[in-house]
């Protein structure tokens, strides 16, 4: 019997509440003090497509999904056919007993738990859609988990819908639970046991981005819906009155970024968010923010391209696009959080960088990070500082001329000029998207042009000095160093845990600041390691290209995956072994 190490997976038709049921399971585990990591798969259509939610539960922190499944809740036959091979020996399938299953198709060592969903539902007088809950309850019984917590979660989730709904859901789950207790032997190999209250949150990367933004004092969020960034819009909109934020679903992404610029210019912390196709439409505004030196934060949540691609799947194919978007040279800081905590802290930091350096800042995320839930300790607010950068001092303003514009674009050593915002007396200026002088007047003189390009350029130098260098995770010297950025962090760490059993010494360098890039550090690490690999969720190895551009060094291997699915730790493990032994 294996306790508190389980992957539970539910699958069925889109639109049948699979995700909601899975979430109740995730929350129930988290509430019981266990660690949870879940990941969904669903097509870009609303009803009828195949959906899954896979929930991994352990008693230690979990960093990603794994491939092996222990218990499969199949709400339709497709789910069995599609996922039976993911089951480990001794794993089980809960399914509708009215489904005819060809025994030969299922491996011998898989346990089958047919359940008469319809009968049960009829018996307790519930609606057909309650089938999910029956299955959920059944699974709780099999794994021998505390049903009380599940009831509690159901209660909390449906609070707003009233007692009747709570009751129907709870009864259905209970009926499934009871049915299993009564009809099957208590012999399922994989069990969960609560280990006390955790106080941990269960949240997605997008949730964390929103919390980071709200904590940073973001007062304006503008966006046009686009998977996988849409849930940021939904979150922010739901919180707009509680935290005094204006959230605008705009007519398009062009408007979204230009609105953010208007708000940033006026002095509030402003953010917009989208995915690749929408970011295309934002690129012109992105350059505008660079030229006007208006602070904004742009969340770019990646999904597989090119073009519409695979809207509900995951990829990291926009690294180079983000780094080079919009015409001309200007500071383009790009931050790449690797997990849910980093989403929170880096989004918060992005606002500081944006205001301190008066520049747009991109936070690069992806669908895998955006929508997967993970149990996460409450964020440590002591780590938060709010740095609003250099607003013009009252003295500067008082001393400023009575006839000219304020020197909003003053040449300074670090390139950062004192900032004024509308409403400030004597701070008046007009910002121009054309090249301009210190006051913002349009100028085409060669010397002014050169000075302004250098002034803006110096901001990036100053920023690069301030940022923390990436640190190696794992042993200081290793046979193989993995370099990566973004949501691959989770499966890499899990792969490293698996590798501990092997004699391959591996460490991991996570690139968090893609620009300014920590070239020296990366070059040093590559030099001091026997072999270097990158792990990337894209076709061409964009990070490896960037590393080469910045350090001149080739990595030894590009471990790439571009089928729309994030890496499994097992895949990374296998590739690393190949590199080690090959």
């Amino acid at each position: 019997m294996i306790k508190n190490r389980l992957t539970w997976k539910i699958g069925g038709k889109a639109g049948e509440g699979i995700m909601a049921t899975g979430m109740i399971f995730s929350q129930s585990c988290s509430r019981g003090g266990l660690h949870v990591y879940d990941i969904n798969e669903y097509p870009s259509l609303i009803k009828g497509g195949h959906n899954t939610l896979q929930v991994r539960v352990e008693d230690r922190e979990i960093f990603s999904q794994v491939r092996d499944v222990n218990l499969l809740i199949a709400l339709n036959k497709d789910t069995i056919l599609l996922h039976k091979d993911e089951l480990v020996d001794g794993g089980g399938i809960i399914y509708d007993s009215s489904e005819v299953i060809d025994d030969n198709e299922i491996r011998k060592n898989i346990k089958l738990y047919p359940i008469p969903f319809n009968n049960i539902i009829k018996e307790i007088g519930a609606q057909a859609i309650m089938k999910n809950n029956v299955a959920l309850g059944a699974s709780i019984a099999l794994i021998d988990y505390d049903f009380g917590i599940v009831g509690e979660v159901i209660r909390d989730n449906f609070k707003r819908k009233g007692d009747k709904i709570i009751d129907e859901n709870t009864r259905s789950a209970r009926a499934g639970y009871d049915f299993v207790r009564k009809n099957f032997k208590n012999d399922f190999d994989f069990r969960l046991e609560k280990i006390g209250k955790s106080g941990r949150m269960l949240l997605t990367g997008n949730d964390a981005i929103c919390m980071g933004a709200i904590r940073a004092g973001c007062k304006f969020y503008s966006a046009y819906p686009m998977t996988p960034a849409s849930s940021i819009l939904h979150f922010m909109a739901a919180q707009e009155r509680r935290f005094n934020i204006v959230v605008k679903h705009t007519e398009d992404e062009i408007s979204a970024i230009n609105m953010a610029i208007g708000a940033g210019f006026t002095g509030v912390r402003a953010m917009c968010g989208t995915s690749g196709g929408g970011f295309c439409l934002m690129t012109e505004g992105y350059g505008l923010a660079g030229m006007l030196e208006v602070p904004i934060v742009v969340i770019l949540s990646m999904r597989p391209g090119p073009s519409t691609g695979m809207p509900t799947w995951s990829e990291q194919g926009d690294l180079k696009f983000a780094l080079n978007a919009s015409q001309g040279d200007f500071p383009r800081p790009v931050l790449v959080p690797g997990d849910i905590e980093e989403n929170f802290y880096l989004t918060q930091e992005a606002f500081n960088i944006a205001e301190k350096y008066q520049t747009p800042v991109i936070v690069l995320s992806d669908k895998n990070l955006a929508e997967s839930h993970k149990t996460t300790e409450k964020f440590d607010e002591r780590k938060i500082t709010i740095d609003r950068g250099s607003f013009a001092a009252p003295g500067d303003l008082a001393a400023s001329s009575d006839t000219t514009f304020f020197k909003r674009y003053k040449y300074t050593e670090n390139g950062i000029s004192p900032r004024t915002i509308p409403g400030m007396k004597k701070g008046i200026y007009t910002g121009a998207s054309d090249e301009h002088d210190e006051e913002g007047n349009i100028r085409e003189d060669a010397d002014i042009r050169v000075k302004m390009m250098q002034k803006r350029g110096r901001k990036m130098i100053a920023l690069s000095k301030e940022l923390k260098e990436p640190e190696l995770t794992g042993p200081n010297s290793a046979d193989i160093t993995i370099i990566s950025a973004g949501s691959t962090k989770g499966p890499i760490i899990e792969a490293m845990i698996l590798l501990e059993k092997d004699d391959i010494k591996v460490n991991f360098l996570q690139i968090v600041y893609l620009n300014p890039f920590p070239s020296e550090k990366v070059a040093k690490v590559i030099e001091s390691t026997k072999r270097t690999v990158v792990v990337e969720n894209n076709f061409s190895g964009q990070l490896a290209d960037i590393i080469k551009e910045k350090t001149g060094r080739d990595v030894d291997k590009r471990i790439l995956k571009y089928d729309g699915r994030p890496f499994y730790p097992e895949e990374i493990l296998a590739s690393i072994k190949e590199v080690a032994h090959g």
């Binding site: 979204a256 610029i261 607010e381 998207s433």
Partner: protein, 285 residues
């Protein structure tokens, strides 16, 4: 007390001598003085075009952005600080061409701001191509055999889209224009002023004279500005007689009115050093 001298800038406007844009600048300055709004509480947002340079030549806050995007920027300026007086200005290409999407959606949003379109029926700054208001058949660099499309009708579009103050004026009649701007600013809600603006360099059809002989003020013919159907009918008038003045005006709640977030104070005045997310984190436990 704001005065004309304060509003003047050291850089002088570099529009072509005789350009209608001068009339618009003078009328706008006059309106600001007349309304007596402190310049630091005014933001002028523009796109790109000859028209788009206007904010550089009037000493208020200004943002000279990108082509066609003045309205979203200006809308957000107002939402971020609703104590400001906000103008968007731009050209006909800027506003009715590339910016058409924002134009329609800004109007149905009814944010309290004033949008002044320098409508010269041509692309000025790019040296004379067809604009969306160029008349059918007009020959330009981009349409040497004549424009095939029918022109857009900004008045009709505005009336159809929920703008609550819809007016037209003429840069050759600074007094009329100044009054129209003053009325527009006083109006609570989104105000559109389409301004006939002669481009002396590239539009040799729609000249000062052309307009002078055609325009008449709606207020002189007993037009009922509260009647939407009448306003639409008037918007269809074109040819020997072209109406200017207020076509349509109605009081509706503004967008800001429906945002409790900014009832007490503008967004920009909310402190942010210590936003309490404790409760929010609890929601996720």
């Amino acid at each position: 007390m704001v005065n004309m001298t304060f509003l003047n800038t050291i850089d002088k406007p570099n529009w072509c001598p005789g350009c209608g844009d001068f009339g618009i600048l003078i009328a706008l300055k006059g309106a600001i003085v007349e309304l007596n709004i402190e310049p630091e509480n005014i933001v002028l947002v523009s796109g790109i075009g000859c028209s788009g340079k206007l904010p550089h030549w009037i000493r208020t806050y200004g943002l000279h952005g990108i082509h066609g995007r003045a309205l979203p920027v200006a809308s957000a300026v107002k939402l971020a600080n609703n104590e400001l007086t906000v103008f968007a200005v731009g050209g006909d290409g800027d506003g009715y061409g590339i910016g058409m999407c924002h134009f329609i959606h800004a109007m149905r949003r009814n944010i309290d701001m004033t949008y002044i379109v320098h409508n010269n029926m041509i692309y000025g700054l790019t040296t004379g191509q067809t604009s969306p208001t160029s008349e059918k058949g007009m020959r330009t660099k981009s349409t040497p055999s004549g424009v095939i499309e029918v022109p857009v009708n900004p008045m009709a579009l505005a009336i159809s889209s929920g703008a609550t103050f819809v007016a037209r004026s003429f840069a050759g009649d600074v007094k009329h224009l100044q009054k129209t701007i003053v009325d527009a600013v006083k109006h609570r809600g989104f105000s559109l002023i389409d301004v006939f603006q002669p481009c002396v360099s590239y539009n040799h059809v729609n000249t000062y004279d052309w307009y002078k002989h055609r325009v008449y003020d709606l207020s002189t013919v007993g037009h009922d500005i509260a009647d939407k159907m009448k306003a639409f009918t008037k918007s269809q008038e074109w040819g020997d007689k072209i109406p200017i003045g207020v076509f349509y005006k109605v009081l509706q709640p503004t967008y800001e009115d429906e945002l409790p977030q900014i009832k007490d104070k503008p967004l920009v005045k909310h402190p942010i050093d210590n936003v309490d997310i404790g409760g929010l984190m609890d929601d996720f436990v």
